[in-house]
């Protein structure tokens, strides 16, 4: 039997996702109508051998998180547990700390996911590949292609074409190593804990012998990529399964919109019933659109492509929404226009107002191009034009424009805003 572990991080991590993560833990942020981590769980549910899913992280177990886990566990009929780290233990430290729970029931292997990865996970194929490897101690890493320039922003690996072994692995190198990058998704046999255990011991001892290598981190913190996988490269235990399927990280709000678009596209393949269709008396639908059953959308509105309308959202007459996400409880009043934006929970966009952002999509001319991890500001100090975000409970009065701006929750707006962060 198999298990799946999803690393969901904690409040100090994922700060680039603010202000959307100020009110709700990032893993619960809805992408294409469902919480980010729901998509991982759904992918796992398609692998019949996975018998338990464990979420590890250092968020406090809020009501939202607890309820989500209960509901989702019931829905997919698979046990799901949240194991809270006492402090940030790093991507491998948490695994090691909970190794007993992970190995209970003697799984032959277990998947490990990073929650801020958005992907059409090829889990069955990865499992078959893993099983076919001629060794017993095996750790498989999912990888994909990136452009040469962008590869240095990720973990880069060099693959042996014949054995599919990882000959070399380095996280975010300063010079070009390889355009094959780590997807942040793994399949380990239980022996991984020996390798992690050795590093753990070394760190603990170093604390007393002086010369702790993990500068700035606690001695209990172990990073999977740098501390475990890098040394494993070339030892005959680390392997790579390459995929050409869609893969992206969700680090910033802009990448959430991009992930939203791709998950909506995947619904066409796995869940066509989730996509809205044109019908008499209904709004005009263009391309992929998700409308939650509790939302009310006027029949004169035009939605899409790539739009998500959340729980209890009200979309008034003559409204236009394109390439955007509208979160739970928001109201879009008559004739307003929402483009390339995220409208936060319970916010209101007044009549005839325009909420517009600038898409930050990858270069469509370069295959395997990824979204840029752009900085918030340009070199001359001006705000980089990007997706417009309205935090929760933001009231946008009628007839104004919010362009390329970020508005923090509960902010009152009285006038048009362009290229600003409203604190």
């Amino acid at each position: 039997m198999l298990k799946a572990i999803i690393l969901i991080g904690g409040a100090q991590k994922g700060t680039r996702f603010r202000p959307l993560s100020l009110e709700l833990p990032k893993p619960l942020f809805p992408v294409a109508g469902f919480p980010m981590v729901y998509h991982h769980i759904e992918a796992c549910s398609r692998v019949p051998d996975i018998k338990e899913i464990l979420l590890t992280g250092f968020y406090q177990p809020t009501d939202a998180l607890v309820k989500f886990i209960q509901d989702t566990s019931k829905q997919f009929k698979i046990p799901i547990r949240y194991l809270q780290e006492y402090t940030s233990l790093g991507t491998a430290g948490g695994l090691y700390h909970f190794r007993d729970q992970i190995l209970s029931g003697n799984p032959e292997s277990f998947f490990v996911f990073n929650v801020d990865v958005c992907c059409d996970f090829p889990l069955e194929e990865m499992l078959e590949f893993h099983k076919s490897l001629p060794v017993n101690v095996k750790f498989t890493m999912l990888a994909t292609q990136a452009t040469k320039q962008q590869s240095v922003n990720y973990g880069c690996l060099v693959e042996d074409e014949e054995t599919h072994e990882v000959r070399h692995y380095v996280e975010k190198p300063q010079t070009f190593v390889s355009s094959t990058i780590n997807c942040g998704t793994y399949l380990f046999t239980p022996e991984i804990f020996q390798d992690i255990g050795e590093v753990f011991q070394k760190n603990q001892d170093a604390m007393f012998n002086g010369g702790l290598d993990n500068v700035g981190n606690g001695r209990d913190t172990i990073r999977l990529e740098q501390d475990i996988l890098s040394p494993l490269a070339g030892t005959g235990k680390l392997f790579v399964y390459k995929t050409a399927r869609f893969w992206s990280q969700i680090k910033s709000a802009g990448s959430a919109i991009y992930a939203n678009r791709h998950y909506l596209e995947l619904y066409g393949k796995y869940h066509p019933e989730r996509l809205a269709e044109n019908c008499d008396g209904g709004p005009k639908i263009i391309g992929d659109v998700f409308i939650h059953p509790t939302a009310s959308v006027d029949h004169t509105a035009t939605l899409g492509p790539n739009v998500t309308i959340g729980v209890n959202v009200h979309v008034g007459p003559g409204v236009r929404v394109r390439e955007s996400m509208v979160l739970q409880g928001a109201r879009l009043e008559d004739h307003c226009c929402v483009l390339n934006s995220i409208v936060g929970w319970n916010s209101t966009v007044g009549s005839w107002s325009r909420v517009e952002g600038t898409p930050c999509d990858p270069n469509p001319n370069a295959p395997f191009s990824k979204i840029e991890g752009d900085t918030l500001f340009k070199n001359d100090g001006r705000l980089n034009p990007s997706i417009t975000i309205l935090g929760s409970n933001v009231f946008v009065p009628a007839e104004i424009i919010i362009l390329n701006s970020i508005v923090l929750p509960h902010k009152d707006i009285s006038d048009s805003v362009k290229n600003q962060i409203l604190l």
Binding site: G318, D334, C337, W352
Partner: protein, 359 residues
Amino acid sequence: MKALILVGGYGTRLRPLTLNRPKPLVEFGNKPMILHQVEALVEAGVNHIILAVSYLSDMLEQALKAQEQKLNIKITMSHEEEPLGTAGPLALAKKLLKEGNEPFFVLNSDISCDFPFKAMIETHKKNGKEGLIVVTKVEEPSKYGVVIYDKTGRIERFVEKPQEFVSNKINAGLYIFSPAILDRIQLKPTSIEKEVFPNMAKDGELFAFELKGYWMDVGQPKDFLTGMCLYLTHLRSTTPEKLAKGDGIVGNVLVDPSAKIGKNCRIGPNVTIGPDVIVEDGVCIKRSTVLKGTTCKSHSWIESAIIGWKCTIGQWVRMENVSVLGEDVIVKDELYVNGGRILPHKSIGDSVAEPQIIM
């Protein structure tokens, strides 16, 4: 009685509207700018109007032929081969203006106001001097030429764009002169403000007439729109039946009878809608002029814009900040136009986020 209207040049400040049409023919309050002046002059007893022109005079001539017949007056073109400034045209038309030996009006064609022509004739006769200049009070006199005059109305001097406050009365661009002034002007490029008036003032021959009511030089887009607001307010107090009323009409709005306005719109305040204009459902227009034959598609929001003839504004477009569109411009759906000046026959598919000229 005669009048000389200084139409003059290329109207470059009102481009792109004036790229293929002379400025006097651009519709202000649903009537060609020049017609406001012509009709007011005729009502005061003028029966011969001379237009001092240098640009697209053929188009102007044709358009005014019809008016000649309708108003039963004579309209003559005085064509400048080279630009003659603000006084030169009087010398060019000297023969015509001296005929009949009576006072004549001279007007700047960009002026919109409650024309006081009858009162000007009376005051000029009473004064018995060479010239009467209309002056008006403005908030920022330093942008213009300021006029200093005494209690009797006798003008002492002019100060061009004063650096310090001297007066808030400026030259309104409307004059009435006796034919004697023509002896002071030679046929060459001459500025009446700089070269003729100061001498007349020294001779005590120039008097001021204070204008009551609104005044605006509508030669550039920002002032064109401000002038339109003042004009509509003027209509409200004189002939309110001309203004539109009904569902979706807010404040002072002028709508040509042939225009069509859809449901759930909000038009106004201060909007002029020209003939054959189609405004679809859910459109909001404020402080703007929409010229003949344009279509504004549904759910768009337009403020402070001058939209030229036969344009198409797409659905959910947002236009603001004194955007000016020339003839036959197409703005595609869902765009944002902020202070855009768009040349005729241009189709734009990208938003104009910051004020700029789109060629």
